[in-house]
Amino acid sequence: MKTPVIKADHLDLVFQTNDGPVQALSDVSLDVEKGDFVSFIGPSGCGKTTFLRCVAALEHPTGGTLRVNGMTPDMARQERSYGYVFQAAGLYPWRTIARNIRLPLEIMGFSKAEQETRVQKVLELVDLAGFGNKYPWQLSGGMQQRASIARALAFDADILLMDEPFGALDEIVRDHLNEQLLELWARTQKTCLFVTHSIPEAVYLSTKIVVMSPRPGRITDVIDNTLPRARPLDIRDTPEFLEIAHRVREGLRAGHAYDD
């Protein structure tokens, strides 16, 4: 029997704030298998980003256990198990695109030659070959976000954590990037955890959709996506797609996610 890449068992996380404790995660249990594309969807404050940050060891759960590649999140980070893509591209304005992608490689101590080949490889992977010498401000928002994905891929972690990476982009660019992301995922066989606000995006991308609801942040439904892995954009108009989207919407409603 194969062990899950990410295994969360009755995870709790309580933040101590000035207004008293806030239960950010409550009894969250979830297994993610290797090669899965898991989307987390829910309204603000449902803990989807917090869960991702726990996996990345940027937050530490106050209860329950969490294993990433069979290790604690802190150890997994030391082992370079994951690449993290934030909501904003967060490229350094004083570095060219290539040198931005090189940043983690420099920190992790890859050799100069190795850095060079890896940067070229991931630039091609995200369709930015030839843009290496440009500065971030010379690129569009969508290209910047692709560069930030390349940066997360550069050191070949097998888990890709993405926190609303396309949230700030317009719908046309977003569709295009979603298509590219699926292609990338198929080629690299990474395990992806993807936080989003958008139902169509979640259904289009995922093999598994985790519906969450706030106060306290918890999982209300886990939906296995039965769509085939090869997904052209117009799959979104098929009855199967709409049915799954409907189930996600129901799940969100059941969690009283639209209360206020």
Binding site: R77, F86, Q87, T96, L103, I107, W137
Partner: protein, 293 residues
């Protein structure tokens, strides 16, 4: 493009010069009249104006007098081959400049070191800033003589005491600017570094330091101007024999207003040149870093 920026500047300069001439006539008229009355002569308006603009010790020297004095003590000395004589502003300017630059270097170094400490050490964060602010509330004129006296008593004389006064003024803007600069990376950029398990040194050299560059240059400009003021103030209590501060002091002892004004202008020109130089280095550096568009 050029004329559009030159014209307003020229207009303002002309207005100031006109005001200045008017003020010189009004302020120096009294002396001219007194002299004429004593000699028992009647002066025409043209004669009065001419005299007010060419007195030896006017209350307010006319612009051309200041410019002539500036030329006589700089360019003319160079032509005579005596650029570093005691009567040359180049000599005095160099004395002040050397103290300014040394003080600026000490102040900038101290300022950056304190800022790094404040950003990385909680105890320093809580304790240093109030003291830094308090240090700037003490009038520099009060503390400068004490620094000179204390250092003199332990045998330190010459350049260093002046440089320390100058550093005393210039470290402050650098601390404030660098603390802000080193803290300018947002939470997301810091989290990104954490996901790479970057060490504190790596976060500093790859993220905090480059982020702080625009802030650093801004505070360097303020610090440079403060350094010059500090060096001049540092020249006043020593009895003042050398430096622009000495020229100011000697001028006021002997009522040499033209000398005071020319020293003032020399200081202003020096400050503008130094600040302009930092601006140039800033432009080149930020351009090379790719931060200027």
């Amino acid at each position: 493009m050029m004329t559009r920026s030159v014209l307003p500047i020229l207009t303002v300069v002309m207005a100031i010069v006109a005001l200045w001439y008017g003020g010189a006539v009004l302020m120096n008229k009294r002396w001219t009249m007194d002299q004429a009355a004593r000699a028992g002569v009647e002066l025409s308006l043209a004669e009065v104006v001419a005299d007010t603009l060419s007195q030896d010790r006017p209350k307010l020297p006319a612009p051309h007098q200041v410019i002539t004095e500036l030329w006589n003590t700089t360019g003319a000395k160079v032509l005579e081959g005596r650029a570093f004589s005691k009567r040359s502003l180049i000599f005095h300017g160099w004395i002040t400049l050397s103290a300014t630059l040394l003080g600026f270097a000490i102040g900038t170094g101290l300022g950056i070191a304190l800022a790094v400490g404040i950003v990385h050490n909680r105890a320093m964060d809580m304790s240093v800033m109030p003291w830094a602010i308090a240090s700037q509330t003490i009038p520099i004129l009060a503390i400068a003589p004490m620094i000179i006296v204390v250092l003199n008593s332990i045998g330190v004389q010459g350049l260093l005491p002046k440089a320390i006064i100058s550093a005393y003024l210039s470290f402050f803007p650098v601390v404030v600017g660098m603390v802000k600069g080193l803290r300018s990376p947002d939470a997301m950029q810091l989290d990104l570094m954490r996901t790479y398990s970057a060490s504190g040194t790596q976060v500093f050299s790859m993220l905090r330091l480059p982020s702080s560059m625009p802030y650093l240059f801004t505070s360097l400009k303020v610090g440079m101007a403060a350094s010059l003021v500090g060096a001049i103030v540092g020249e006043l209590p020593t009895g003042a024999i050398r430096g622009l501060g000495a020229r100011l002091l000697a001028g006021s002892y002997y009522g040499q207003t033209v000398q005071i004004w020319s020293a003032l202008f020399a200081a202003a020109i020096l400050a503008a040149t130094l600040v302009g130089l930092i601006g140039l280095i800033q432009r080149i550096t930020l351009k090379r870093m790719g931060m200027a568009r």
